[in-house]
């Protein structure tokens, strides 16, 4: 299969090239643009590795949400201008480079020296899947076998958001994210895009959520896509960033982990263990948790990008 080999080689080379470029880029803005390209390119790598779920998440988070987060951070640090960084001293850079190389080599060795066939639980996971009513083994792992990890991840997301909010000054606690003087009108093209994309984005996000039970997809990917759409609307001025003390916002953030936790606790009585699902109800409960999850993930990610409150509450 030499064509496949050539394709993989070119893909790997491109990814490494972009990564190297990001590291040596002189301006933060250029590095962020490269990072976004890198995230979108990694989605291709994941598809090539037969992991479409991860590809969806990588495109949404790496190529979308994190990229914009970095953009906002860079702008905040430099007041919006794209001036070159101050580079750290040469010995420090050398040590950092050596450390990174050692870690990369160790990871490569671990992956390449795996015994063939690599030890895996995939057959057992697939065999137990019909009991959950799901068709997608990734969702089965996330929501049934390792549901505890997923629950804790959702809580961590909320905690991270609280951490970001805690960076606000006392005067603007409870206020609205976003800098003070953002009175300039967004360009018409951006407003058009912000009117065109979110409806499509919402449909695709719900489609991904629904699809996640049996095909690659899921609540996290859908939530990240929804967050991207909301951020777009906030950029274009079509949606105001909500104040962090807004009750409905806090409810939206909490509903995902809360529903998950409630169903988990109910598992004590209905199926005998925390986060256990009674067998005929497994799929409806999982879908319910995913539906609550998508709201929380979307809200949390969008607000993480919006940043700490900077204007006092109205």
């Amino acid at each position: 299969m030499s064509v496949a080999w050539a394709f993989d080689a070119i893909l790997a080379g491109t990814v490494l090239g972009v990564a190297a470029w990001i590291v040596v880029a002189r301006e933060t803005f250029a590095a962020v643009a490269g990072f976004i390209a890198y995230g979108l390119l990694l989605a291709l790598v994941w598809v090539r590795l037969a992991a479409p779920d991860v590809a969806l998440t990588e495109a949404a988070i790496g190529g979308g949400v994190t990229g914009v987060l970095l953009l906002g951070a860079a702008a905040r640090l430099r007041g919006g201008a794209t001036v070159p960084d101050v580079w750290p001293a040469a010995p420090l850079r050398l040590v950092a480079g050596a450390l990174c190389t050692v870690i990369a080599a160790a990871l490569a060795a671990v992956v390449l020296l795996l015994p063939e066939p690599a030890p895996t639980l995939a057959p057992q996971a697939a065999a137990a899947l019909p009991a959950t009513g799901l068709g997608n083994p990734v969702t089965g792992v996330l929501m049934a076998y390792r549901a505890l990890d997923t629950l804790l991840e959702k809580v961590v997301l909320v905690l991270a958001l609280i951490g970001v909010w805690s960076l606000a000054q006392d005067a603007s606690w409870g206020g609205v994210p976003g800098p003070q003087g953002r009175a300039a009108r967004a360009p018409d093209a951006l407003v058009f895009l912000a009117r065109l994309l979110p409806p499509v984005g919402i449909v695709v996000a719900v489609y991904l959520l629904w699809l996640g039970a049996d095909e690659p997809g899921g609540a996290f990917q859908g939530g990240a896509l929804l967050a991207a759409m909301w951020i777009l609307m906030m950029m274009a001025g079509l949606a105001a960033s909500p104040a962090v003390s807004d009750r409905r916002l806090r409810l939206a953030l909490v509903v995902g982990p809360a529903v998950f936790l409630a169903i988990g606790l109910a598992g004590f009585f209905s199926a005998g263990a925390f986060l256990a699902y009674p067998e005929p109800w497994a799929k409806p409960l999982i879908v319910l948790v995913e539906a609550a999850k998508i709201v929380s993930v979307a809200a949390a990610l969008a607000l993480l990008v919006a940043g700490p409150p900077q204007r006092s509450p109205r």
Binding site: R26, E27, A30, T82, P84, P187, A189, L190, F192, L193, L196, L197, V200
Partner: protein
């Protein structure tokens, strides 16, 4: 068999447009002209690739999804082109 040939021809034509777009990207002297090469030629290349892949998917979901992808890229490409052109036209020495 005929459909396979049609697919290959359409995809080859799409590849040709990608080539044209990339040549433009590499050789045009100015960000605006490079933007033009990128958004117009690559979009058309993608459209032809989608056209070539349509006979290979099951209708209606697969085909509709492909067409939606292409329409999205077309619409957003045009809009993003506008936005990037505004950035390109700003005066002043930006790095």
């Amino acid at each position: 068999m005929i459909l396979d040939l049609f697919s290959l021809l359409a995809i080859a034509a799409g590849g040709f447009f990608f080539l044209a777009g990339t040549v433009g990207l590499l050789r045009f002297p100015d960000p605006l002209t490079r933007l033009h090469a990128l958004t117009k030629a690559d979009n058309l290349g993608l459209g032809l690739v989608v056209l070539g892949l349509l006979p290979r998917v099951d209708w209606p979901q697969g085909g509709l999804k492909l067409i939606v992808v292409w329409l999205l890229v077309l619409l957003t490409g045009a809009t993003v082109g506008q936005l990037v052109a505004r950035v390109a036209q700003r005066p002043g020495p930006r790095p």
